[in-house]
Symmetry: C2
């Protein structure tokens, strides 16, 4: 809300009294190569959907959350991908302004559910948050967005939107974030059932579900799916479900583009966030003076 | 963020220590008839798109903003609808996590642009906000959500999410809100070019564009459209644009359903908002303790 530190870094030459400033995309385009950080293929999950009606391939790429967050579930997800468990499953739910969800369409039916591979671990609700002391070095100096309705403190730490209280830290349910579906008991989500946020950040889910990553490429293939007409957006017939051909760990996918993100501890990111908070490019009349942590999407590109 | 007043109204019998509470949809379902207020057909705008590939009709219904907000543009929109001006125009832009936009696809080309009807007025940027004193009676007692990154005060007033400072009030760019496209000079939006928010609330647009209403029925027909591949999501070929068959004022549409909204000054709405702020239904582990003004969608139904 206050955003004082980022504003301090925002070059005076680009202030409104000197004419229009760069827009956020222009700031990102101007970022030097050194401000971009590689994303390791081992930290990616690659989902190939059945081709669309015109025969076009549909690939969605997810970046998995790093420690200290959700690593029990992330480990399960790597095992599920290595076992090719998702191949032949489907996208089963699309609820407007909320989530797209995928996994075994028969998962709730014990008699017909697809057996899970051996070696998955059970994670308790305690792991929805991480101890604050486990955050990477520099976290207390990371870009801060102030308190909001859901957290006493919000920051972007090592490229991820995070909520904090005195002792804990947790990832935020921003647009594009991927989480673990579960039943009512909070330890019932294995990671086999996943969802992605496609609307207003449902921050009420923070600390109530494990987040495990975010879509960095191809989210429009999910967000534009027809909304399901069943309860909470479930598709009511098999023909409405989009088949999942394969989900693989990124290290196992030949020819995957090399992805990079704008390093959130760099000068370019600080300028980008400041420009999101105070739009001074030509179109704008009144800069907001602040920005929500979920309204600063992390810039990602394919390596040039 | 504080939400003290709403919590005070939240019945003690439904607190967590007495077992799970009603979920927000359950609170809405339980609302007595007297808590529902009719929406006048005269305050609706009805957009009929060309049928989808399966031949299904596609209708989107928009509720126009009441005074004291944006009435110059709202008046223009009623004139454009009465003149059948939009018939034969199209949806021209779908940008993921941002907006769907419609109007004359040749509007930026002076030689080919469709002439506007006579009698439209020009509105200046001063009208992006209303004087606080012009708000309806009771506004200062309306449901409050505290300060956020974009406004010192946020409330839901007479059914609409509103930001406030000491002297001004303005509608918020929440999911589903409809606004007036314009060029860089802030008085260039007539109302002929409209957009709807289909992602994280782009609150940086508050006070920078005129909002004129919100979609109350059929938003999934817009939010699920394929994303445009041109700059900022414009479609690059005519065949990608969805034709608009007609846009009419609600009073001119025979057989329109009677819509109602849950009155935002009623007890049921207060309980619904409190349940959004503190989920105590069975699935939840940690109630958030607060809610963003854009995360309390106004319940709307067809009259039973």
């Amino acid at each position: 809300m206050l955003f004082a530190s980022a504003l301090a870094w925002f070059p005076a030459a680009a202030r409104a009294d000197d004419g229009p400033a760069l827009s956020p995309p222009e700031v990102v385009s101007a970022a030097p190569a050194a401000q971009w950080a590689a994303i390791e293929p081992a930290d990616l999950l690659v989902m190939d959907l059945a081709p669309d009606v015109a025969g076009h391939a549909r690939r969605v790429v997810i970046q998995l959350l790093p420690p200290p967050f959700s690593q029990g579930w992330v480990g399960n997800i790597r095992k599920l991908a290595a076992a090719h468990w998702w191949d032949g499953t489907s996208i089963n739910r699309t609820q407007d302004n909320y989530v797209v969800q995928w996994g075994d369409p028969d998962g709730d039916d014990k008699a017909r559910a697809k057996p899970l591979p051996a070696g998955l671990i059970t994670n308790s609700e305690a792991a929805y948050v991480a101890p604050r002391f486990a955050l990477p070095a520099g976290a207390d100096r990371a870009l801060a967005f102030g308190a909001d309705a859901y957290a006493p403190e919000t920051r972007i730490i090592a490229g991820w939107p995070v909520g904090l209280d005195r002792d804990h830290a947790w990832p935020l349910h921003c647009y594009g974030m991927v989480g673990v579906g579960r039943d009512n008991p909070p330890d019932t989500g294995s990671g086999a059932e996943l969802y992605v946020v496609i609307g207003q950040a449902p921050r009420q889910l923070d600390r109530n579900i494990a987040l495990v990553g975010r879509v960095i490429d191809g989210i429009e293939l999910l967000s534009s799916l027809p909304r399901g007409t069943g309860t909470i957006g479930f598709y009511t017939t098999a023909s409405e479900r989009v088949p999942i051909m394969a989900i693989r760990n990124g290290g196992d996918v030949p020819g995957l583009p090399r992805y990079q993100l704008l390093a959130s501890d760099g000068d370019s990111f600080a300028r980008y966030a400041a420009a999101r908070a105070n739009r001074r490019d030509r179109f704008f009349v009144v800069p907001a003076g602040g920005v929500d942590a979920c309204n600063v999407p992390i810039p990602v590109r394919r390596a040039p």
